[in-house]
Symmetry: C2
Subunit: 291 residues, 2 copies
């Protein structure tokens, strides 16, 4: 069994981006990070993104509207950023306060600056295999993990468990694409799937993105499977100082014995998302400045 | 074995639309049909669409740019139609002449008038399960055939053979949706799929959209399967006056013996596409006029 080390792969990508950005003449790519209010998780995510951007040599612009910001005010702010030629990528950190329609906000970000890949148009571009679009960071990170672990999906059966808009559906469309590394036969399962274990056992590559702790057990996979575990769940654990431990959607101790390659949780898909956000920002810069 | 009669189902939909349109006050929904040049197939398709629109009580506006029209001229024409409040839906008949970028033309049609459902934004909306979008006529027709044949996909394994942008991918996304009638477990196979018969034999519902005559044979399906045959292929046949006969992607004589329900070719999916185009046009009218 080989561990797919997301930390190591993400670090390699960040180092590559740093070298790439160092070679750019003129202004550096700029990401605008919009964080509404003071949600503790958002605080830590945005800080991590800001830090990684700085490490690569990107400029970041941090915008902190108060918790009480109205949707219209947020729209006006996004319109300004959309129109600003010095801003290449825009990220609106979720979750947003309940009085704001998150989907509407994501749609307000210009498709050409949508480095989070949540805009409807960029979803359509994945289906169209149009490389000018932006792929959301988690599915993009999964594909990159597979590529850099020498897993070619061609002729393989890829089973995705979970049909969410930010992971399951886009990663299914990516695995189906005609490009090198993809060309997988793809099955998407979910809560309404009958006899799920019979289907997951067909998988050469299993992508678990359901948000249920240790849901995939050893009897649900076949020997030699490649496992990508997207889940990040907290389980109570009195032996930890924090009172909990993180587990994925896959029961790692048992499934890893059968897998040929597997991502750990934490340290698998998680670290890839920030790296992909940075990659998207450099791409947005190149598309907008034709550099 | 029950035949899924596309002609009959399409006629029922057209009758329903006719009744619906008769009840509309004020101007009737209007579809603009753009046919470039004189391709014989296009001539017959556009004539059929015009006739069906008239039957339902829709207005149609036929625009016939010459074969030599430039892409910019076509864009200008579409911009006019996009801006015209008297036009609800716009259809640009394919194929277009080789000097014109078809995808660019489809994208130029306003998403709110894109009754053909080829605009990138409307593809994204299928993934988002956003009902304000337009679904392309063939996948929409397939879902309607299933619904009106009382085939509920929930808990069923739907295998789609073919990953095209106009059939395979959108119908896979539709079958996956959380709405009533959908909720299928969905597998998409294609030319790079290894051991295809083993996968198609898993299908409770098999959607064949590969464009290869009689490709799906009896050994590739399980007894009781529901078959939707999207293919329309010509096979040479000296006994026919035309010199050919039409067959689907499924070998009907053998597979129909195993199927619980099956669409014939012709007379299955084919007739549904025009009905769905008309349904989309009425929907576009309602969205634009808030009627």
């Amino acid at each position: 069994m080989e561990l797919i080390d997301g930390n190591q792969i993400a670090s390699a990508i960040i180092a590559e981006l740093k070298a790439e950005v160092a070679n750019l003449k003129g202004r550096k790519p700029c990401i605008a990070l919009v964080r509404v209010g003071n949600d503790p998780a958002s605080l830590s995510y945005v800080a991590k993104k800001e830090k990684t951007a700085a490490e690569i040599g990107l400029t970041s612009r941090i915008i902190l509207p108060p918790e009480t910001v109205t949707q219209d005010e947020l729209f006006a702010l996004l319109d300004q950023l959309n129109a600003d030629p010095a801003v290449d990528g825009i990220l609106v950190q979720s979750p947003l306060p309940k009085h704001i329609n998150e989907v509407a906000v994501f749609r307000r970000v210009s498709p050409t600056k949508d480095v989070d890949g949540f805009n409807t148009l960029n979803l359509g571009k994945i289906a169209q295999e149009d490389e000018t679009g932006f792929v959301a960071c988690t599915p993009a990170g999964i594909m990159e993990l597979l590529k850099r672990s020498n897993v070619d999906l061609k002729g393989k059966h890829v089973v995705v468990v979970g049909r969410s808009l930010i992971v399951g559906k886009p990663v299914a469309l990516l695995a189906l694409q005609k490009k090198a590394g993809a060309n997988g036969t793809v099955t998407v399962c979910h809560s309404a799937t009958a006899n799920l274990p019979a289907i997951t056992r067909l998988a050469d590559v299993l992508i678990a993105a359901i948000g249920r702790p240790e849901f995939v057990t050893a009897d649900m996979v076949k020997p030699g499977v490649v496992i990508i575990d997207v889940g990040i769940n907290r389980l109570p654990d009195a032996t930890k100082k924090s009172g909990f431990r993180l587990v994925g959607d896959v029961q790692f101790p048992t499934v890893s014995k059968l897998a040929s390659k597997i991502t750990p949780v934490p340290g698998g898909v998680g670290p890839m998302t920030v790296a992909m956000l940075m990659q998207n920002t450099v791409k947005a810069y190149r598309l907008q400045t034709a550099h």
